[in-house]
Subunit: 163 residues, 2 copies
Amino acid sequence: MESQHPNDCLYYLVTRVSLSLTSLLKKRLVESGCDFVKPAYIGVLLWLWMDDGMGTMLGKFGKDEGIKLNDLGKLAGLEPSSMTGLIDRMEKDGLAVRANDPKDRRVTNIQLTQKGINVRKHILEIMDTVTKEIFATIPKKQEDIALDVLKKILISASNLEKF
Amino acid sequence: MESQHPNDCLYYLVTRVSLSLTSLLKKRLVESGCDFVKPAYIGVLLWLWMDDGMGTMLGKFGKDEGIKLNDLGKLAGLEPSSMTGLIDRMEKDGLAVRANDPKDRRVTNIQLTQKGINVRKHILEIMDTVTKEIFATIPKKQEDIALDVLKKILISASNLEKF
DNA sequence: TGACAATATTACGTATACATATTATATGTA
DNA sequence: TACATATAATATGTATACGTAATATTGTCA
């Protein structure tokens, strides 16, 4: 159990990359005049955009009235208590709104505003540009493997947390 | 610029994996009686442990008196303003101490306590176990590629932030 | 030496996320 | 129907990280 170099440690690498990418993305968002889209919003916006206009992409979760706050949290991997503040901030920034569910008064449905829908194209372009820059010097095959491994880690980490 | 599935998005994957691994690691730390080691400490502990007893591994940064708070922050990828609170908490948990630098009174040197040195073996074992579990179903070759890509992303993200 | 620039650290406010407790509502069962 | 239980969301306090400003110390140059 030798003291390995931090750069050989999965946890170290993932947390530093997460911080770096968030910092870079934030900078690009501000530069392009989209400072009302905080990096943390993107984890839920990606899911909300899949439901944009169609109400089918989210499967059993998608509804005309939006999506349940709790279900959105499950999709995005966030605790309910984290969702409250996040949706508060997204409402304040005009990207989403809360709506009461007439069938279950406990439920809060989350809907995109027109602003939240319109900003999609621009944000996806920024994300795409950043990703291309990041992977510029990395062979496509390795990029694919890395993304695939990250997907698998996400699944296995979720499973391991239950025990 | 289609709305891709969140799981195909680099930023989404990295941030979710970071959250998942942090949650899993925290659980294992608490279970094993090491709740005084918070996940956030590990990013700097890994660097401090490299200097344990030898004072050479950190190159020009390593000194008998510890390592400068700012230099430690640079190694761990944290802003100076983030370091203050982090070291506060590590001192409170008995893992590190601040020491004045007699040669430059602006400087605060960070030193591991005996407790911080002793806990190394146990923490590295936990990290190793978690990593093995995470990668259990992933071919070694893909694991190596993924780690290598993460290292490269860290470098390119740092470079891109300057522009 | 005295003024000014550079460096190191901290202070303060904000963003992000969690755990736990609480409130409101819904559901199942006696 | 009444009560126990489950579910949805929020409130509160803490951990983590950043940006900006303030403070203290040191270095530099005229």
